[in-house]
């Protein structure tokens, strides 16, 4: 409900020195409905800066792909404006937007060779002969596929197909590259490798990319900024660190990384910190927005920020006594399922060495810093 005002504020917050020309794409009050009843995208306001890697992150059905399709020209907004380099493009067909698009399943043309696939966009831009050949080779070199030009897509591995799709989307030097879950079909190792590679290419060329994914770790790894979508709205738009450290609402806190969300009520403020009272009366020092005393709120606490109380932990304002319900060995770390504040459940993640002696059933003293306990009002 506050998203609109929030987004407006954010846009307004931009430093005054930033001119509109620095925005590659601007969505202004964009709405989209397919059936005339429910809005898939509700009042979207978003600016993509020139040269940035912006990820639209969200579960399926959150409106992120529809937003991307509207930007690509495959869907028309029901209302609102989309500006590309300051020009309204809602009515511009896709072929005239000069945007490179990498699709979920690559959409390589099966009846063409790799070279023909990559050369396809050049055909419509009057690039011919030696110049076209050179650019195709460069693009293939860039994605490390030199020498595979005569193959057909079906003869390539998933990763290679992905690279061809990337080369094809970049060969004509588009203003902007859009990617729709491009790594979803790859196995984990290859996916992580490609994440880095795509990011490197983007940085090297300084190209603007808008990337859609439902994988939060992918978003955190690659992005300059992340827009978290949920139910047709942007829940939070910020850089990965801020998103991780300072989630603005319960959805973001739960969606990005593991998180403990604990019910509490506001007790007051103390030295600039927010004091909350847990179910069993335990007081915790926290940071974040505060409301009026007695208001019920949520505290979010990352599992890895909850450590054993050794007494020496720097800035550990809160001490929590908890009973160990279960322990899971994860190699470099152990994961503890804990019960604290009466019957609230929470999870802690410790370095394996620290947790070695802990067994289920024992009681442990835990500690966490006030800065790691974030209050959420929404």
């Amino acid at each position: 409900m506050n998203t609109i005002s929030l987004e407006r504020r954010r846009l307004g917050d931009e430093p005054p020195t930033r001119s509109a020309a620095e925005d590659m794409v601007v969505f202004e009050r964009v709405q989209k409905t397919y059936d005339g009843r429910t809005l898939v995208v509700e009042d979207l306001n978003l600016a993509v800066r020139r040269g940035e890697f912006l990820t639209m992150l969200g579960p399926s059905g959150s409106g992120k792909t529809t937003t991307l399709m509207m930007l690509g020209g495959f869907e028309q907004p029901t209302s609102g404006r989309i500006l590309l380099e300051g020009q309204a493009v809602e009515r511009l067909p896709p072929e005239r937007r000069d945007i490179g698009f990498v699709f979920q399943n690559y959409a390589l043309f099966p009846h063409m060779t790799v070279r023909e696939n990559v050369g396809f966009p050049l055909r419509y831009r009057g690039v011919k002969g030696a110049e076209a050949a050179r650019r195709i080779e460069d693009a293939l070199e860039m994605v490390q596929l030199g020498g595979l030009g005569e193959r057909r897509p079906a003869q390539l591995s998933g990763g290679q197909q992905q690279r061809v799709a990337l080369a094809r989307a970049m060969v004509f030097n588009p203003k902007l590259i859009l990617m729709d879950e491009p790594l979803g079909a790859l196995d984990k190792q290859l996916r992580e490798h490609m994440q880095i590679e795509i990011k490197q290419i983007q940085q090297r060329l300084g190209i603007t990319m808008v990337y859609v994914t439902h994988d939060q770790s992918e978003a955190l790894t690659m992005s300059d900024r992340i827009a978290v979508f949920h139910q047709g709205r942007i829940q939070q738009l910020s850089d990965p660190v801020t998103l991780y450290e300072q989630p603005e609402n319960r959805f973001v806190a739960g969606f990005i990384g593991d998180n403990n969300t604990l019910a509490c009520e506001l007790a007051g403020t103390e030295n600039g910190l927010v004091v909350v009272r847990m179910q069993d009366g335990t007081r915790l020092l926290t940071t974040g927005p505060a409301g009026s005393p007695g208001e019920s709120m949520t505290v979010s606490l990352r599992p890895e920020r909850l450590g054993l109380d050794t007494g020496s932990r720097q800035g550990a304002h809160n001490r929590i006594t908890a009973r160990v319900l279960d322990k899971t060995f994860l190699g470099d770390r152990v994961r503890l399922a804990l019960e604290a504040f009466g019957d609230a459940r929470l999870v802690a993640s410790l370095p394996a060495a620290e947790g070695a002696a802990i067994v289920p059933g024992c009681t442990v003293a835990m500690a966490c810093a006030a800065a790691d306990c974030r209050t959420l009002t929404r």
Partner: protein, 415 residues
């Protein structure tokens, strides 16, 4: 010890292959056992009868079985001049036996194919056998019909003493054998079949092109339509398949006849001033066949179109191709396997059409099948029917093979 192990462990390649075959054998046997009933059914009810039937295109038992003595006597004959008295005597003896077994007619019919009038010559000799006087038979034969003094007549009998004949197959391609056995074209007014063959190919081609022109856009619309509408449209495409071919053809007769629906509508709308001849024309035949074949062309195209992801056109557009270019360069080529399968199916099925040309077509639209049917039903000339069937089969197979060469087997998707 270790050395022995390392030598023994990796099997040499042929051994490995044999081992694989052994390991796979139970699976293969199970698969074979599952397919066996259908396979046997096909062999017994389809393969074997057709195979046997096709052999009648070269089988030539009549002269050999009915005139055994004559044939062996004619072995000595050099083909020059009328054969001697012994040939006439052998023929008389053979025909006497044929009379008893009432096989003379079959012989007469067979010889009549090669020379008109042979039937009545054989029958008349057979009837007169009893009234022949003692003494040389040759003059009495010749008195009955001077044709018995014709060397060509004897050459035909001699030639057909062989157990196989090329007569039917040659006739099916408008070739014939002369008295000396040389192969040449038959007289222009007897050259029927190449023309019919060409016409069959041409009509099948026209029908194929027409179904493609109508079917491709239809399949495209159905592939794009929302599921519920597409289901309804597909039903409408399939509906005609649930009606018998004969009923659909008869419906076309009702539409196309001179006093039929189409002419009445055209006249009522003032589009024409006189009734058009639509029945018994090539136009009518091709129209009716196109209607009947349409589903066979549409379905494979549709199934391929459905498998082409929406992303393909979008990708082409995003890369700069205008809608039409994206369609022709990206979409259309990918429908090729379906187009190929649909066209192949319609073309091959059209080659064998029978009822529709018979009812809607004129005499110039009768196809090979119509002649096969006539030879079987009316003339009892199974040899000729089999020869034409062979021709049709060879034509169909060679088109199929040519198609595989050009398009590639893996690129034809039937569904």
């Amino acid at each position: 010890m270790a050395q022995t192990m390392s030598l023994a462990t990796p099997l040499s390649r042929p051994d490995l292959r044999a081992a694989l075959r052994r390991a796979e054998r139970p699976n293969r046997l199970r698969a074979l056992a599952l397919a066996l009933p259908a396979l046997l059914f096909l062999i017994v009810t389809f393969g074997a009868p057709i195979g046997l039937f096709l052999t009648t295109a070269v089988r030539n038992p009549e002269v050999r079985h009915i005139l055994p003595q004559t044939v062996s006597t004619l072995d000595q004959w050099d083909g020059q001049g009328v054969p001697g008295e012994e040939a006439f005597a052998a023929l008389a003896a053979d025909l006497a036996r044929a009379k008893e077994n009432s096989t003379a007619a079959a012989l007469g019919k067979r010889l009549n194919y090669e020379s008109a009038g042979m039937r009545s010559r054989i029958m008349s000799v057979t009837r007169h056998l009893g009234s022949f006087a003692d003494g040389p038979l040759a003059p009495q034969f010749i008195a009955l019909d001077p044709a018995w003094a014709d060397t060509e007549l004897w050459a035909i009998i001699k030639r057909n003493g062989a157990p196989v004949t090329l007569y039917y197959l040659l006739t099916a391609v408008d070739l014939g054998q002369d008295a000396t056995g040389g192969i040449g074209r038959v007289a222009a007014d007897q050259a029927v079949f190449l023309d019919i063959l060409g016409r069959t190919l041409w009509i099948a081609g026209l029908v194929t092109v027409a179904t493609l022109l109508l079917g491709f856009p239809t399949a495209y619309v159905i592939s794009l339509a929302p599921a519920r509408v597409a289901g309804l449209m597909l039903l409408m495409v399939l509906l005609p398949l649930w009606t018998s071919l004969l009923v659909r053809t008869t419906a076309w007769v009702v539409l196309l006849q001179t006093d039929g629906v189409i002419n009445q509508v055209l006249l009522a709308l003032g589009l024409t001033t006189e009734k058009l001849q639509l029945m018994l024309t090539r136009f009518g035949t091709v129209t009716a066949m196109t209607h009947i074949q349409l589903p066979f062309t549409i379905l494979p195209i549709l199934s391929v179109m459905k498998s082409i992801s929406e992303g393909q056109m979008r990708a082409a557009r995003s890369l700069g191709a205008p809608p039409l270019a994206a369609f022709w360069r990206i979409y259309a080529p990918q429908t090729l396997p379906g187009v190929a399968a649909g066209c192949l199916m319609t073309f091959i099925l059209s080659l064998g059409y029978y009822i529709t040309p018979a009812l809607v077509g004129g005499p110039r639209d009768q196809m090979v099948s119509n002649f096969i049917a006539t030879y079987i039903n009316r003339d009892l000339n199974w040899g000729m029917a089999a020869a034409l069937a062979c021709l049709l089969l060879v034509m169909t197979l060679s088109i199929y093979l040519a198609f595989l060469r050009i398009v590639g087997a893996e690129r034809i998707k039937l569904g």
